[in-house]
């Protein structure tokens, strides 16, 4: 090859390489699924995930022109992923959320479709108290899906029986039970400290028991120094007392909840109690059905606190999870059809009840009574029906930034790295 040919071939090769690289870049930037398929994102797992998939499959079969595709993520990862994707170009058509201030953050950024014109009569199907979490300025931005998710204590009945303990009705009773269990080498309460959000359950219940609804309402309204409320500070103190009394399993700060580790301690008889949302019942059903069938799982409401202002019937937790449609969706009609026809239709409701989930629809009392996990579901449904007030989990009721900071600070509180005063001072900075 003479010099000229060599030069020519070298430049051709370089050009080809460069073009190849550029071509590679552009094709990988559009991660969109095939057009026409409707993406549904959710954070449920186990049996609840199967129920969602069944609902999707039925809808796809009945509607050959539409393809619904579901994707599932672990809760903590989901929260961060959805935050990033909502601001980008191709968010999922339908995504699950917890309503409240966290959803409002997305609504204010113009990411969520107003469903009011499309729902009309359908909204009467759902429990009205639950719909409050997705209604802003009279407009509805989501529909309930899945389970009513109130928080209560679960306990290991055989362990309680073995040490002659009764489910505690007051905080002092709880402390006494903890002392007994600790002396016998059993972890009194299982806590998924690694994920940090389980810490919130103690916080929100204690604040409500001590101070009623006022402290939360002040924080939600953004009143100056709302986080310094004495009820909040007392709650932090009591939580730290709990840690100091050795109420939680050793190494709780690296035990996860999203991966089912904290509840595993309960059904492998290593811990006696756990404070968690109703999804734990379904989780135990998926992982160790015998534990429930043998009648080893018990439950009780969060204890009362002596001298507290809060109504003892108040309940905390997630009212429900909701499906919302993204404003940028290219499949609006299909997404709305899915939410109206498949989500929480009769078949979906009976599937949910079969896995001991209580959906947020009206008129299912008799169905609940006649079902397998009837005892717990009745407990769930009634505790919510009779609650004077349902405190939505603070981290979803408040806007995203404040909610996330609350979880981080609670993590530090449980490690005794933050005093009640430091907690209030830091959170006051995040008041909206």
């Amino acid at each position: 090859m003479n010099r000229v040919n060599k030069k020519i071939s070298m430049s051709i090769v370089s050009a080809v390489f460069t073009l190849g690289l550029l071509a590679g870049c552009s094709s990988s930037s559009s991660g969109k699924a095939s057009s026409g398929s409707v993406q549904v994102w959710s954070d449920v797992s186990g049996d609840a995930k199967n129920v969602t998939n069944k609902m999707v499959d039925r809808f796809n079969k009945d509607n050959p022109g539409i393809k619904i595709q579901s994707q599932f993520f672990e809760t903590n990862a989901y929260k961060q992923k959805i935050q990033i994707v909502m601001g980008a170009d191709n968010p999922p058509d339908i995504s699950s959320n917890w309503g409240g201030g966290r959803l409002k953050t997305f609504i204010d950024a113009g990411d969520i479709l107003d469903l009011t014109p499309y729902l009309k009569d359908d909204s009467k199907r759902y429990l009205s108290s639950i719909m409050k979490s997705v209604t802003f300025d009279g407009k509805i931005y989501g529909v309930p899906e899945g389970n009513l998710q109130q928080v209560n204590f679960f306990y290991n009945k055989p362990l309680f029986k073995k040490y002659h303990l009764d489910p505690p009705a007051t905080w002092d009773d709880l402390l006494k039970d903890i002392k007994v269990l600790k002396s016998k080498g059993i972890a009194p309460i299982s806590l998924g400290g690694k994920d940090k959000w389980p810490d919130l359950m103690y916080f929100e219940y204690l604040v409500d028991r001590i101070g009623g609804q006022e402290p939360f309402n002040k924080v939600a309204a953004g009143k100056a120094n709302a986080w310094s409320d004495p009820a909040i500070q007392k709650a932090i103190q009591m939580m730290q007392q709990l840690v100091k009394a050795g109420a939680f399993e050793q190494g709780f700060s690296s035990v996860g909840s999203g991966d089912g580790e904290d509840v595993a301690l309960l059904y492998t008889n290593k811990a006696a109690m756990t404070l968690m949302g109703s999804w734990d019942y379904t989780s135990i059903e998926s992982n160790d059905k015998d534990f429930i069938d043998q009648g080893n799982l018990g439950w009780f409401a969060f204890p009362t606190v002596a001298g507290g202002k809060g109504d003892p019937s108040d309940v905390a937790g997630n009212p429900s999870e909701f499906y919302s449609i993204s404003k940028k969706t290219k499949n609006k009609k299909a997404a709305i059809k899915f939410l109206k026809e498949a989500n929480l239709n009769d078949q979906n409701v009976s599937d949910l009840i079969k896995i001991s989930n209580v959906p947020a629809v009206n008129g299912i009392e008799s169905q609940l009574k006649n079902s397998d996990g009837g005892d717990y579901m009745n407990f769930s449904y009634n505790i919510i029906k009779n609650a004077k007030y349902f405190q939505q989990s603070w981290d979803t009721a408040l806007e995203t930034k404040e909610g996330n900071r609350l979880i981080e600070d609670l993590g530090n509180v449980f490690l005794n790295q933050m005093s009640p005063q430091q907690f209030s001072a830091d959170m006051n900075k995040y008041l909206k």
Binding site: D108, K194, Q250, E408
Partner: protein, 297 residues
Amino acid sequence: MLGMRMNWQRWTMMLPALIFFVVFALVPMCIAVYYSGLNWDGISEPVWVGMKNWIAVFKDGEAWQSTLLTIELMGLCWITQCPLSLLLGVFMSGKQKHRAVFGVFYFIPLLFSSAAIGVTWSYILNPNFGLVNTILKAIGIGNGNENWLGNPHLALFIVSLIIAWQFIPFNSLLFQGGAKQIPESLYEAAKIDGAGPFRIFFSITLPQLKYTIVTASILILTGTLTYFDLIYVLTGGGPGSATQVLAMDMYKQAFINTNIGMGSVMAIILAVFGLVLSLLILKFTGFNRMDSQKEGM
């Protein structure tokens, strides 16, 4: 490169790599500088605030704490990885039996993704169900509930051990290559003079590996500086802030505090830190002088 002229053929050959670097490294860096001047949560309208984020980062104790932790982790990683990789690499370059088999074994950790390694090790070290605690309990140490990753005093050290497990194979490859290049004649001369194995190692092998040690050190130090995946999976920056190195802090600021501006500030700090570190190491070890190690042979 001294005295080499750049003509159009050399430019054309450099072009693909240059374009790649500009598009994927320089441009994002410049965009990050722009982002660092914003108050933005990723979904709402960004607001320009100029130097406010930068001032906040330098005033805030958390950022300094993260920097200290990062330096601590870099030190721990260097101490656990460099000497061991060196010894392994020299061993594998020798003529001992079965070294090929060992070679395969040591390579296995490198084949796994950081996320997979993180998940697996966090289960092995699980305080209640983990393998390590079960074994320790079986041989009588502890009560089977030792808290490895959740202990604020131990967490960073344990993380550095797992990082070492992941990267010693790679670094030992570097040293293996370096050791193989040492001319036999040096060893033969030493043996004739009656030098024992220790003397040979310290007087011949180690000095000849000088540039490999520098390369490996730069890779370990700058790699640890920006390392994120494994730490995120193992501890998420916890417990508390015990493993909150700069990369974790950057992630937390950007995606959990939803403050992309602050996160970008930390990203730039990281990049500058890495660059300065590499340049310093290169200068002080005389790397860019590129002295030959085979003088007089």
